[in-house]
Symmetry: C2
Subunit: 453 residues, 2 copies
């Protein structure tokens, strides 16, 4: 693991030891260089330092920087320098960059890009966000089935410099239809004169340009792939997705689920770099919705005023009851949402899952109720109706847990069925719904058992 090299490099710059700065950069990984730049405030220092990154890693380091760092550098460098960076970047990184820049900066970037690059960027920008097309690259090696291994290796030697990956090479027909894949490993290990047709794997997993990136991430994790070919409607190869981008997708999709499940509008920004007003905006919508939904519970409590007016002790158990309901429901919904995200639980399992949750809820509910019954009887010795009160609370607890766990599994599955993100049916919403239900259950039982009108 690397030490924090930022201070050292800034010191070398200060002392004008430029050769040493260059040397230090050449020893660092591009992502670590990017981290250094993301922490620099001063625009002048940033530019002076950027010009000292060795040419062969400058584009790579630039690609790892935050969007605002990239923008500040673009603003400072001239068109020649910009053109060099843009044309040295891998196409997928370049597309990511252009997607995030303001319109006037995009114009300059596109003007300095080579005409080939410009065409490719424009084409890739036309794919929908979060689709295969938006995360693929067109920098791969392609071969033909009638070559032999040694010919293929020589093609690779000639063309590989610009390619993002050559670990897998794609075999296409002359009109670019995908026929198979052959790994560099296979080519190296095989006899020189073996035809590619014999070496290639024709049983390919491919995705369409419009495939959702979440499904793509699942394919990578299921099949342990390093690259996935992307084809158009006519099975023509248009790009490949590499594992490093798939890993980023997995992390992004998980972050999105975490945020949705906590009632926060998903955002790509890093927490520390997001302004306060934006964090507040991302959270306030759900807080408003949930606060408004809580008005149902409020209305219910008001309508039961007569039930607890003469039994004020009942009020004290409300938070325990609604809290346990909320926790039970979010346990279930989290398990189901995660199971669906990992492709382990499907719509066809609906009744299996529900029945499972009912039994789990029964076991949990009865245990909790038993403990609760005993401790109410013991802790409220001066309360004349303590046995009945304990019974009311315990029965309400069992029913609330069963209801909460049912909601917790049913709602996310239905959400997925009607093409909503199941993650919105998580703790906050489930909790609010079970709050109302548990109050209704609680006071209805109280009315019956305590004989209140």
């Amino acid at each position: 693991m690397l030490d924090e090299p930022s201070a050292e490099i800034l010191e070398l710059l200060e002392e004008k030891k430029y050769a040493d700065v260059k040397l230090r950069f050449s020893e660092l990984y591009p992502v670590d260089i990017a981290d250094i730049f993301d922490d620099i405030e001063d625009a002048d220092i940033m530019l002076r330092l950027f010009r000292l990154i060795p040419k062969d890693i400058a584009a790579d380091a630039f690609a790892y920087m935050d969007n605002d760092t990239q923008e500040r550098i673009i603003d400072g460098i001239n068109d020649v320098e910009l053109s060099q960076i843009i044309n040295d970047m891998f196409l997928d990184d370049c597309v990511d960059l252009v997607e995030e820049l303001p319109a006037n900066v995009i114009k300059r970037v596109m003007r300095t890009a080579s005409s080939n690059n410009r065409r490719a960027i424009n084409q890739f920008l036309s794919y929908p966000e979060n689709s295969a097309g938006s995360i693929m690259t067109n920098e791969y090696v392609y071969l033909h089935a009638d070559m032999v291994a040694v010919e293929a290796l020589s093609v690779i030697r000639k063309t590989a410099i610009d390619k993002e990956t050559i670990d897998y090479c794609y075999v296409t027909t002359r009109d670019n239809r995908l026929e198979g894949v052959v790994s560099l490993r296979t080519l190296v290990l095989s006899e020189p004169e073996t035809p590619i047709a014999e070496l290639m794997n024709a049983n390919l997993i491919t995705v369409n340009t419009t495939a959702d990136q979440e499904d793509i991430a699942l394919l990578f994790s299921k099949y342990d792939m390093l690259a996935l070919p992307v084809v158009d409607q006519e099975n023509r190869l248009v790009g490949i997705i590499t594992i490093d981008d798939a890993v980023d997708v997995i992390q992004d999709e998980n972050t999105e689920d975490f945020e949705r499940m906590a009632g926060v509008a998903p955002s790509d920004d890093q927490y520390l770099k997001t302004p306060v007003w934006k964090l507040a905006r991302n959270r306030i919508v759900w807080l408003m919705i949930l606060m408004s939904s809580a008005m149902c519970t409020e209305g219910l409590i008001n309508s039961f005023q007569s039930a607890f007016a003469n039994n004020l002790i009942l009020v004290a158990f409300i938070p325990m009851l609604t809290g346990t309901g909320g926790n039970s429901g979010s346990q279930a919904s989290t398990m189901i949402i995660r199971g669906m995200a990992l492709d382990e639980i499907h719509w066809k399992d609906f009744f299996v899952v529900w029945w499972k949750e009912i039994r789990v809820a029964f076991l949990c509910g009865v245990s909790l109720a038993a403990v609760n019954f005993a401790r109410i009887v013991l802790l409220y010795p001066s309360e004349p109706k303590r046995i009945v009160v304990a019974l009311v609370v315990s029965l309400a607890l069992i029913l609330t847990v069963i209801l909460a766990k049912s909601m917790g599994c049913i709602l996310p599955m239905i959400a997925k069925k009607i093409k909503l993100d199941p993650a919105i049916m998580a703790a906050p919403l489930i909790t609010t719904i079970t709050d109302a239900c548990s109050i209704l259950i609680y006071f209805t039982i109280a009315r019956v058992l305590l004989g209140i009108a």
Copy 2:
């Protein structure tokens, strides 16, 4: 993408078309073959089918199967067959298998393993769970710095068959100290007589055998690596971790966080395959703890009985208040826990984060309070003290949101600092704590403003 081939294969088996079954298997990916086996109930069919998997993919398919499927197959096959499977499996898969088997089955597996394998398995089993040592493999190619490229390629051709990855080859001294890494790509693209010492990257990222798998996953996602060398205290190379295992770790660690954050004891089992009693057991501990913690809130409410006895309307706002507090807190804690898991937020950011959350909370709290004040005044026209009540609720709301968001960021950071998993300081616990605090705030304000003793 592949269709469900299970029915077809079972039909072919039924019709005794064994050659066709074999052919069909050879067209499938090992993980898809494993899926078929995981769904088979009948032990006899499972065994007959298993013997029809082509030899070259049988071990690979076996490695992807669920633990209980693996156990059933081991129980059915003879020692010769078992020995073949075990010795064909990659070492890391074999170690995973042995870790999950019951003791008597392990004995048989170890007896049938080759002595080399047995020694390696025993060594790998000695590494702590979730450490680098427990997920690495020893099947990699190693070269020496004084070879030239063409020699290296010839070593690779001779030794590569048994290796899990040859995309990266490791350069070691004669006493196995790690000096650098060279990619197969570099070897193929370089001049045949170039010394490895010139081609290799000596600026290596390595981890120790005891490194935590969560940190390893972060290294993979930060540095876009395909393999990571594992060294012992003397910098001797003892294994490598490949990206496919790192992807599994990422998914597992995320699942664990999702479960912890919902108050569920983490488990490696798939939901649908986990028995009801086990699901209940994984959930009930936290439900009990949280239910018991809710007794604080209960005690507080009881102590405030006099405050609301004559103002029963106050009771109705309790769920809205505690609910909003819980939601605000879990929004904050989720963002912070996720930020720490992705290595974006650190202990040194403590006060930056807290100050940020206080400002976000103030913005959210004031907006919610304003809406709430207006709607209470409008919705309760018959309530004589409605302005004061609305003021009490709104003030309590602002303070509760600020407190909840403070807890939501402080507690996970402290948890991490004292080496607990921050994920336990998530929604359920935060909600329970803020419940008690919000009740205290609410009735204290009510006492002052409504002039209750």
